[in-house]
Symmetry: D3
Subunit: 200 residues, 6 copies
């Protein structure tokens, strides 16, 4: 279970509303490579992961991605809150406004509601950790694209922080993968149940 601590992992204080940026940053809230998908992927994979370190990595990073989800939500809200209807329309964000006003809803930049179809939890530790390496790369690239589109330092700084964290997570999943691979190659006292088709 989780305890809420009333602070963001990294401060988000955007002074100028900017629906153009809200329109695309939302994709890291509910889009294909966003923080919701990341948190959900890691926290789901935990249940079938092996070795204490790899389980701990999934738990830590999954929990941190929830904090990132909160940061991204705060960014979207601050970018939208004071925006006029005219600014929203000009930013090509009237479709979002029609369904969600200036609230925060888990969708991609194109407005597609979040779907777990973009994540996987396979019950196989090697597979899941490889999936996570890809996930961190995809999230890292998205933050770069968002930074490319941004010009307000209040927006760029938290995006850079979030991008950095994905790079760190990538490293940590790489280490976890190595540990799990080593572990599976060592002789163990118990018998691995899965590849029983080998006898066929």
């Amino acid at each position: 279970m989780w305890i809420y601590e009333k602070m963001l992992e990294y401060p988000v204080k955007i002074k100028n509303p900017n629906p153009k940026m809200a329109k695309i940053i939302i994709t890291q809230y509910g889009g294909p490579d966003g923080e919701l998908g990341a948190a959900l992927r890691y926290l789901s994979q935990r249940f079938s992961m092996i070795t204490p370190q790899a389980i701990g990595t999934l738990n830590d990073i999954g929990t941190e991605e929830l904090a990132h989800l909160e940061m991204v939500g705060a960014m979207v809200r601050q970018l939208l809150k004071g925006a006029s209807l005219e600014e929203i329309e000009k930013a090509g964000m009237s479709a979002y406004y029609a369904d969600h006003d200036r609230g925060v809803y888990p969708a991609s930049a194109s407005g597609v509601p979040f779907s777990a179809a973009g994540i996987q939890s396979k019950g196989d530790p090697i597979v899941d950790l490889t999936e996570n390496l890809a996930a961190e790369q995809k999230a890292r690239a998205t933050y770069e694209y968002l930074i490319n589109m941004a010009d307000d330092p209040d927006v760029i700084e938290p995006l850079k922080f979030l991008r950095e964290r994905e790079v760190v997570h990538f490293q940590r999943f790489g280490e976890a993968l190595r540990i799990v691979q080593d572990y599976l190659q060592e002789p163990h006292l118990f018998i691995m149940p899965k590849p029983d088709f080998l006898n066929k």
Copy 2:
């Protein structure tokens, strides 16, 4: 942000694997009225909610739903972990197995990946709190249907606990709705921005 505490909100200790129950309980993990949808709904609505109490209610309950998501995931995992392939097939769960083995993946009982299309965040406090009353009722009913199908006390007890919590949440959202309605009817020093179409 959230701090992880290494315990479940309510103990889950299922001694007998039972893929038949795993097949349907998963719907409270990633199905239309499940805990993921609940947590995501409340934690997203927070950003545009008004009055400290209502914001606090969304935050508290959203955080608790994450704990429930974890409990449901633990149930699914324990029901699947020791199940034989034969039991899985007999339980009509071979489709799930083919894609996720005995792992935990956010899908409905029918196997549809979680979609945020089942939740809403409207930017309007009255709307969002009414949405939540419905959400708690739907989750409560699902737990009843699951309990109706269960016969193992190890499964029934946590389901009953979870059902109870939905009833409590329903009450709390009802109170929050009343507070917000009162607040919106009191004279305030600032001017409400939205219904500017009234002048048209």
Copy 3:
């Protein structure tokens, strides 16, 4: 079954094409809180509803939502019919045009095809009526957002009418909920089948 009567519930006569408004009004045709979802929700819930009044309410309002669907479709068509390609492009509606020309297709403002994932039919009368209270609130809010974006009285008047009807429906579902709650608390001659888990 239904008999078609060749008139709209409320006249729609829009003289000036306006793809900008078509782009967002379509969301009440096929979007998450639109008239199609409403009609489908109520007409589906009918089958498991109890008490003649509540069944009648679902039937009446479900039927009226079909009429609203028709009105919204007529608005979208009139806003699009005479629009030039240039106007369509300027309005950010070229994506819709590429797939549907100036026809009417059940999608959200963002272009996501209508999905029943946004509605529920739970087999439990209390749950379904609470779901409907939320549905009416969500539809009401969407109409307000659309009116906020509109400036043509030909568009605003039918939107206001439709918003009003959602408020009336909200009241009627509130009454139906009270009737059903009373009914379920009265002693009846027959035995309620569901909560049989209470004996567990």
Copy 4:
């Protein structure tokens, strides 16, 4: 707009509950080639159809498909209403039960919520009428598959009636297509707006 008449287009009186049949018949309620998709397709295409006969055909058949939707819903409800939990589970319908009890929800036989992605409304009369020929063929085939699986005359008779109607609709759409094709080849007093790319 539509007036509800309190009768089914064809009587549905199923004496024996049968969740096995409910599980598959639901696909004509909310599945890919079901009555909801049909009604929605025709009633949406109406807005951009040409010639009074073709518009009338879409309107008539769209309205009749609503009556068929009601019939299919009634069948599903009657097949589920008196079924025991044990029968539901044996029929492989526990996933549906977990989310919808014995209610009627617009999903495919596999449990995928209805999606308008399976229908099209293209703004072009020839295209839309050809789409409808295919739609009627697909619905006809689905009824045949359902009849193949059925053994209760109370179930078979309404399915046969519904299958017959699809054949009739197919004929009527064929005629409408011929009328529209003739019309488009005749010289008209007004100028057809679309294929303006021919001058490029």
Copy 5:
């Protein structure tokens, strides 16, 4: 199986980047009536088609649609490759950019990921061939809408070629349908298995 030949079926050489056109042409890559859906539909239907000619037609056209998919992908890439961020933003394509940079991803013009919900494979030769007549009409119309929006001959020429091919495919599916219908009406030495409900 397929052998790749390193050439496009028709040359695509677009000199001027134009994200406005990329934004809508992508719909023929991954949209509802696009080439991916076409190829997948025909190549899937093959497995249950009857008569050598009809099977051959599905195979030929399915294979050609793969070539068209490649052409459309090349168009999208060439239209995006040299585009500046400013041009992308002005073209209303920032949402696509945020998730896919200037890469090619199978989505509709609105940004909805490709879904097979828009295609059908029914196991019935008459149904499938009728479905294909509609599919070709829909694809043909989409190409016309795209041509209507285009003004660069480098873009218009391949679109015209692709439109032409859909017309040819429509003819070929019409012929296949006639052959299959004739075949099913001739006396055969084997017995048709399906309509066994006729004895009911």
Copy 6:
């Protein structure tokens, strides 16, 4: 473009119909980690890939995945073709039958139509190749789960072949990733356009 060669990459000759296996093997046709997703992912990423080897790898493997898609389709068809209705029902495959008879349709084992939401094409060569490593691992695991459920050598042999190929593809994507990483670290005569946010 592609030339069709009338043979399967590896022979599929299943003598005994078995809808139980068809029900799960279909997931490698249209499921989350199946051959359609693989082919589409690699053939889409090609357009923005760098270095001739990496482009060639995507092209070769994408083309081979099309051949695998064909093999999997052939397996599903052979497993279904001669199956009786009773066998289909017993195998829990009546839902599939109701919509597709014994045809081949791109869906997951649970019956969810194929969605491109499970694949990504990011416009960044490092990201895309890492995504592919994960994709091959996921496909490999799915084949293992399918083999675990199979007992007919006619089914097991082609599944083993397909599993082997995923392992080979994994190696080849690993090599391509190394080549691309080296290439990006070498000094080049042209300037890399993307990370222009570094100057911010």
